[in-house]
């Protein structure tokens, strides 16, 4: 309560204090701290990408803020600022979607395709709290839409092939735009076999097959009002997870939304967007293809989410403000049925997610104040109500075995506040900020029941009595830019209290055959995470451009023990050549040896690696058809390697040739 009062008074006082020292108004739009990864705009034929038909996972990996936990070829789990799904927020056009797999085999990013998206916006820490509570930051995946720019038909066909894994890709997009109406449709299909590692060894169960179809249609009326409906249907089948003991027979999502956008003609309000949405996910794990399992089991999961948001943007004097009211309702159910060897015995059944209902409502306010033409101050704050309910009586009673006094519902208030100062003049820029944020435990952390983690080989039990995790965060960035040079260094520091982890309970007996023990979710006093990254670019000449990235991460708990999935020093360097229709890139990427690993969470020392990639592209017009060819080699020297974020050290792909061809009509 005390915190809450401080929060309210701070959020009320600060803008007033700022208004009090007003300076002459100007029309400069303040900058926002975010990183944008361009995925594909339909009008441009992916030309700038080194591999246009790469997966979303490969695109996101380009960011210095993002790492990907890899359990196979498919559905990598994004880490933002070295933090996994529970501490981050991934949205699709502002919509909340929750995976239906208890083992995190279906991050939200796995239910969309590059053809659906135009870009991904990555925000660090509380900068990303607009669409919900987060600690590490957010990724908002933005849908592709043609808007009303180019009238008429726009059609494209994309095809690709990769030798390692024999991945076949085919996709198409058909868009039609009229003066007050547009419809965009796209389709993409991928089919990949097992890949081989750098030693020429086939990585069994690394295959996948995925199908994605999407449409967005908008209708504008009264010139300044837009109604837009959007739907994505994504279905992956026969997905292998070589790092896990089970595969996936079905991962299916239907993601729908209806949006109303209003742009007042002359008002302090520049844009008002309201969206209602619904999405449903079905996820089925499958162990029937594995040669030997101690016991056969079915583990399906379902996640349904209904939500809305209403976002108001406006300008008042020098204040650029955003107010966002958002709410969602999610229902997550997962169950486990085990088949005893003796078929006369009854099936063994339990809820691993006991029909957990989450009802979340939040108000987010953001004020970006242009102090003068080169500096701005940004304040944001949010307050949310987070309510969980265990709807299954069986599930509730199961958890009451561990927590006899547990109630079926739990309410939490989540607060977030952040402030940033930005300065930018003559190419020199810097920023610093402070923030505080809270998050509720995830469904698994709060209500999971015997969730087996194949990384540390423990069964995990949720803890409904966990406190909110909260983080105090500081960030600094400094950049310098000339015509040729661009350099930017940014860093963030998180002090996370009530840091939620699983702690072994020696008195408990694991359920999973072969497991090391049982861990109960509990909270560490605190943990600290620090990330620093350096992005460099140098334009040698009009044709040559060099790019470099260096990332350092650090994560320790309050006892100075290492946290898991903290990247060793990693680097990326590329040289681009572009002349007229021809483009080419040679790139090296690598990690130093992971010395700060965490045996407690199942990690071991990961050796260093470096791989070399090369690609070349050519675009030309043939009659009225725009063609874009892109070919390349990844891991040219066929290096055998695995990284700190490869689950159970599964090796990455060996040498891979790829060819992407796009035709636009």
């Amino acid at each position: 309560m005390k915190n809450f009062i401080i929060f309210i008074s701070l959020s009320l006082l600060i803008p007033i204090a700022i208004i009090a020292q007003e300076k002459p108004a100007d029309t400069i739009t303040p900058k926002d701290l975010k990183e944008v990864i361009v995925i594909g705009k339909k009008t441009q034929l992916y030309q700038k990408q080194s591999k246009p038909l790469a997966t979303i996972d490969e695109y996101l990996q380009q960011s210095t803020k993002v790492d990907m936990i890899r359990r196979g070829s498919y559905a990598w789990e994004p880490l933002i600022n070295s933090m996994p799904t529970e501490r981050t927020l991934v949205t699709i056009d502002g919509m909340r979607v929750f995976g239906a797999c208890t083992d995190k085999m279906d991050p939200i990013t796995s239910y969309v395709e590059v053809s659906n998206l135009s870009e991904a916006t990555i925000k660090s820490g509380q900068q990303g709290s607009c669409h919900g509570a987060t600690i590490g930051g957010s990724i908002d995946l933005q849908r592709n839409r043609s808007g009303f720019s180019d009238l008429g038909w726009d059609t494209s066909i994309n095809t690709g092939f990769e030798t390692n894994s024999q991945q076949k890709i085919i996709g198409s997009a058909i868009n039609y735009t009229d003066k007050s109406f547009y419809i965009d449709t796209d389709f993409m299909f991928r089919d990949a076999e097992n890949y081989t590692d750098g030693n020429g060894q086939e990585v069994l169960f690394s295959q996948f097959r995925k199908f994605n179809i999407a449409a967005t249609s908008g209708f504008s009326f009264d010139e300044n009002k837009l109604l837009e409906g959007s739907v994505i249907y994504d279905k992956a089948t026969n997905v292998g997870y070589p790092a896990l003991p089970m595969d996936v027979s079905l991962a299916q999502a239907l993601i729908t939304s209806l949006k109303f956008e209003y742009v007042p003609k002359s008002s302090k309000i520049t844009n008002w967007e309201t969206k209602i949405y619904y999405n449903t996910i079905t996820h089925k794990m499958d162990d029937t293809k594995r040669p030997s399992v101690p016991i056969h089991m079915d583990m399906p999961g379902w996640s349904d989410t209904y939500g809305f948001y209403s976002k108001l943007k406006g300008v008042f004097n020098k204040h650029h403000f955003v107010a966002d009211l958002n709410s969602f309702y999610n229902r997550s159910v997962a169950e486990m049925t085990m088949y005893p060897a003796d078929s006369n015995e009854k099936l063994m059944f339990m809820y691993t997610w006991p029909d957990v209902k989450t009802f979340y409502s939040a108000l987010f306010l953001d004020d970006n104040l242009a102090l003068n033409s080169h500096s701005s101050l940004k304040f944001s704050g949010s307050i949310a109500n987070h309510f969980n309910e265990v709807a299954s009586q069986l599930g509730l009673e199961s958890l009451q075995i561990f927590y006899p006094n547990m109630k079926d519902g739990k309410n939490r208030i989540l607060k977030s506040i952040s402030s940033n100062y930005l300065f930018d003049e003559n190419g020199f820029s810097y920023s610093f900020g402070l923030a505080y944020g809270e998050r509720a435990p995830s469904v698994s952390e709060g209500y999971g029941f015997y969730l087996f983690n194949s990384f540390d080989q423990y069964d995990y039990i949720g803890n409904p009595e966990l406190n909110n995790e909260n983080s105090i965060e500081g960030n600094v960035s400094i950049g310098y830019k000339t015509q040729k040079w661009s350099a930017k260094m940014s860093s963030s520091y998180f002090h996370i209290s009530n840091y939620i982890v699983g702690k072994p309970d020696e008195t408990l007996i694991p359920m999973t055959i072969g497991a090391n023990g049982v861990k109960i979710y509990t909270a560490l006093d605190y943990a600290t995470i620090f990330n620093a990254d350096l992005n460099l670019e140098y334009q040698f000449s009009t044709d040559f451009r060099w790019k470099g990235q260096l990332v350092y991460s650090y994560g320790k708990d309050f006892e100075d023990k290492n946290l898991p999935f903290i990247s060793p020093l990693r680097y990326f360097s590329s040289l681009n050549f572009k002349k007229q229709n021809f483009s080419s890139e040679i790139a090296v990427q690598g990690n130093a040896t992971q010395t700060e690993f965490s045996p407690f969470y199942g990690e071991d020392r990961t050796p260093d690696y470096a791989i070399l990639n090369f690609d070349a592209g050519y675009s030309f017009d043939f009659e009225k058809v725009k063609c874009n060819l892109k070919a390349g080699i990844e891991n040219i020297f066929d290096t055998y390697y695995s990284t700190f974020s490869d689950w159970n050290n599964i090796p990455r792909k060996g040498r891979n040739f790829f060819l992407n061809v796009a035709f636009g009509f």
Binding site: I295, P340, M348, E397, Q400, P404, Y450, I509, I513
Partner: protein, 294 residues
């Protein structure tokens, strides 16, 4: 119904045959209850197993399932006067189950019979049938009762089929005494922390099986079909003062087949029978156990 039956026929033919009498008894019981004088709720939740008659009375024997089975059975009965067709409301009742084996006879643990609280005509108690009947060996139940100072008796053979899962165990402890443990609760096991009740008796003679006091029953539920894993937060069973039975908590983390491994400790905490489970050994079992499948 026909469709349902044909569907079930193949897979559940055996099961259906087993419950068929139950179904018939249910139908029968519900048909006849219309003619009874007693209020309908007298028979709530109980089904007639059979009748035992003598010249003067008909004794109706009930249980929750309409059958008896090996192990613990809660049994209700009422006594109908043949001449007045009235149910006797103030009888003093005792009973004596007896097993007729080929070479010998013996009784089994049983409770006193008392007037069922809240009911007008019912009397109840329990009997722990230590074995099932078979082609040559059978149980006989004798009911002795006194009404207004006049003593009566009635007896009949009763059917005690084997239970599908082990609900009673008989063993000789390290003290040389023969003991009987009967599982009473949970009757309807759930994925939850279940209240568990067990009766502990000793064989004083072939006919006397009194309740044992101040022992302790340790429980360790395990799933042999799944690596013999256990469950947390079980509470070992101790005797309650009120009903003399042993009470504890049994955690079942999923449905399926559970083997409740037991250890019986005497008042000075010495293990009389049963072995602790060796962690990590999928074949480790105790020599005394109950079975629960749901």
């Amino acid at each position: 119904m026909c469709l349902l039956l044909s569907k079930f026929k193949k897979k559940y033919k055996m099961k259906f045959l087993r419950i068929l009498p139950l179904v018939l008894v249910t139908i029968f019981a519900s048909c006849t209850s219309d003619n009874d004088d007693a209020p309908v709720d007298e028979l709530d939740g109980i089904i007639k197993i059979q009748e035992i008659t003598n010249d003067t009375h008909t004794i109706e024997v009930y249980s929750s399932t309409g059958t008896l089975q090996q192990g613990y059975n809660a049994i209700s009965l009422r006594i109908k006067n043949k001449t007045t067709s009235e149910y006797e409301k103030s009888a003093t009742v005792t009973w004596a189950p007896l097993m007729h084996m080929t070479s010998m006879s013996h009784a089994c643990p049983f409770s006193v019979v008392s007037k069922t609280s809240g009911k007008e005509t019912l009397y109840d108690g329990y009997v722990v049938f230590t074995m099932a009947d078979n082609a040559t060996e059978y149980w006989e139940l004798t009911v002795n009762y006194t009404i207004n100072g006049v003593a009566y008796t009635a007896n009949s053979r009763i059917a005690v089929p084997a239970s599908a899962k082990q609900r009673v165990t008989t063993f000789t402890g390290t003290d040389g005494v023969k003991y009987i443990l009967a599982l009473i609760e949970p009757k309807g096991p759930k994925v939850a922390t279940n209240d568990m009740t067990v009766g502990v008796f000793k064989m004083q003679s072939m006919m006397m099986f009194p309740v044992v006091d101040n022992f302790k029953v340790k429980i360790d539920p395990r799933m042999p079909s799944m690596g013999n894993h256990g469950s947390p937060n079980n509470v070992d069973l101790t005797q309650s003062v009120s009903d003399k039975l042993y009470h504890g908590k049994l955690s079942l983390t999923m449905t399926g087949y559970w083997r409740i491994n037991l250890q019986v400790l005497n008042a000075s905490n010495e293990v009389l029978k049963g072995e602790a489970i060796v962690e990590g050994n999928p074949l480790s079992v105790s020599s005394i156990y109950f079975e629960i499948e749901f």
